[in-house]
């Protein structure tokens, strides 16, 4: 019996039906970006599980929750522009057995309400989920107040907190359903501009804490998290044309890290690149380096992400370029370091 079928059966028995999403829907989500993906995914989850509630801090239209609100006017609670209360109110709902998903801007959640997440999600170990939309620098033109460069660092330092960063429309959908199934506090950061590509086939298996090997390769391992995975795969394609074999890993769960996958990477690859739309301090790169520190011998690691300075203002494309996160820049970095 396949794992996927078992997962499906388990979800069915619990009253949660995880339908495969039609290609038309996914293409629509891809075109519209991660906000539409999360809004519509929560609507689908809400239809399957009547215990799912959504809380938000004035983001109903922004996070495309309007359809959820129409379908379930009694299951969406807007606390106003008040992120600290968003988390505590959500924790109170979870304490009493509801399954709440709090949706906020990743620039403000978890940074502004880090303490609420620490005490009332982590310490209380409550079954509450927090979704941070517009993580990273997609809000490039809006300036540094609206960049979320540090949300992984904040969230993963909290004991009990699971931290997830899905990479494409289909994995956002699967990650949300997986988070609903998982019992415990979860922070999920979402990246992916309008037009972010569909990277996975419909039958891929998404499990929290289980990284996905998108490409096998022996020379370099590019370990990525979030929608920048598309650039990592692009880099692997460029490298292949140069005769360099690149493994690509989607480390969609940053906490807990898939250390089995890392053990394989450290044993089999000569160079490791970690790639993320997050500060080079405290994110995926930091998490991998912390684990790697326990090895007597392990490959060199290059941490690719947002530099440790407040970033320039500019378009998303400019931001990726300015931070060295485009496929060609990543490929060049590998070539330089392998030669």
């Amino acid at each position: 019996m396949s794992k996927r079928w078992l997962t499906w059966l388990r979800l069915r028995l619990k009253g949660i039906e995880m339908n495969e999403i039609s290609m038309e829907t996914l293409q629509e989500w891809s075109k519209l970006g991660h906000r539409s993906t999360i809004g519509e995914t929560l609507l689908l989850l809400g239809k399957e599980n009547s215990n799912v509630y959504v809380t938000t801090a004035d983001l109903t239209p922004t996070a495309r929750l309007t359809n959820f609100l129409k379908a379930f006017p009694d299951r969406l609670f807007d606390v106003g522009i008040a992120e600290q209360n968003l988390i505590d109110f959500t924790a109170g709902l979870a304490k009493e057995g509801l399954l709440p998903f709090a949706v906020g801007l990743a620039a403000f959640v978890p940074m502004r309400c880090a303490e609420q997440m620490r005490i009332n999600m982590g310490y209380m170990n409550l079954n509450a989920k927090v979704i941070g939309i517009e993580a990273g620098v997609r809000f490039g033109p809006l300036g540094n107040t609206h960049f979320a460069m540090d949300d992984i660092a904040v969230a993963r330092a909290i004991p009990n907190m699971t931290v997830i960063s899905p990479s494409d429309p289909r994995s956002i959908y699967k990650a949300v359903f997986a988070a609903a199934e998982y019992v415990g506090p979860v922070y999920m950061r979402l990246t992916g501009a309008p037009g972010f590509p569909i990277l996975y086939p419909d039958d891929f298996d998404f499990q929290i804490g289980k990284a996905i090997e998108c490409r096998s390769g022996r020379d370099v391992a590019i370990i990525s998290t979030g929608s920048v995975l598309a650039e990592a795969i692009g880099a692997a394609d460029i490298l292949r044309s140069k005769g360099i074999s690149a493994r690509v890993v989607d480390m969609h769960t940053i906490k807990p890290l898939d250390t089995e996958m890392l053990d394989r990477v450290f044993a089999e690859n000569r160079l490791v690149l970690t790639v993320e739309e997050h500060s080079i301090i405290g994110g995926l790169g930091g998490a991998v380096a912390e684990y790697k520190a326990g090895f007597d011998r392990s490959p060199k690691q290059l941490i690719c992400g947002l530099g440790d300075s407040f970033r320039k203002v500019g378009s998303y494309e400019f931001q990726l370029q300015d931070n060295g996160l485009t496929a060609s820049q990543l490929a060049d970095l590998v070539v330089t370091n392998l030669s």
Partner: protein
Amino acid sequence: MSNRNSVEFIQKKALAMRRDCIEMGYAAGSHGAHFGPAMSCIEVVAGIFFSAMNHNPQDPFMPTRDRFVLSKGHACLAYYSALVEAGYFPRDLMRTFKGDNSFLSGHPSCHVKHGLEVASGSLGNGFAVACGMAKAAKVKGEGHYVYCVLGDGECDEGLIWEAAMNAVKNNLDNLIAVVDRNSFQLAGRTHEIMNLNLEAIWKAFGWEVRVVEDGNDVLSVITVLNEMRSATSGKPHLIIAKTVKGKGVSFMENNLAWHAAPMGKDKYEQAVADLAALEIEGN
């Protein structure tokens, strides 16, 4: 647990709780304890546990139980002493207060089996969580109440007012909050640190507000607690209980030095003697 206890019974419980507070705080040795803010709210907490609240120490997970959240978590001695007197955990565990690996930490952690619903002590947060718990009860159609005790200094926290707005928006009339108005906070008198007209502000936020002029008088406290429970305004309820910081121990009353301090043997003996005198007076 019945909520038909007599005033005299609750007064005796309050005195026993004060003794428990002194025993626990003394046992903590050089770690010290927040005596003053616990002693001020003893009648409030006793009134909630032994008059207002529907609960059963033999069945701490009972779904229909009323919930209690001590948002001013530093006053945990008042909370722990109520739990001991109600029978949530054995009396001899009081000795472990602040000790190695004890569940009786210097601010409450979450152990529902011992009657500890919510981790608190980071001010503002317990109240905001209590609002979420009251909302969940409404959503689930459950009839239980959520009781929450706040500090007056705690009302400086912005989060209190984020949550206060939201409680009114959600018509949380199953939420009964009490501000322990002892008029002191860590660094001084509340009117010197941040001079808030709490009655006016809570009313302006849309809460049903009642002031208890003597929040250390059991009859006054339980009268208002029970009136709030039967109120039909549809609004969340806020009681401002004017209390005396350090109430019951002569050298602690209105003495900021006893907000939090370690207690030596001589002070312990004096505190015990003060409480014994109160008992004689009560009889």
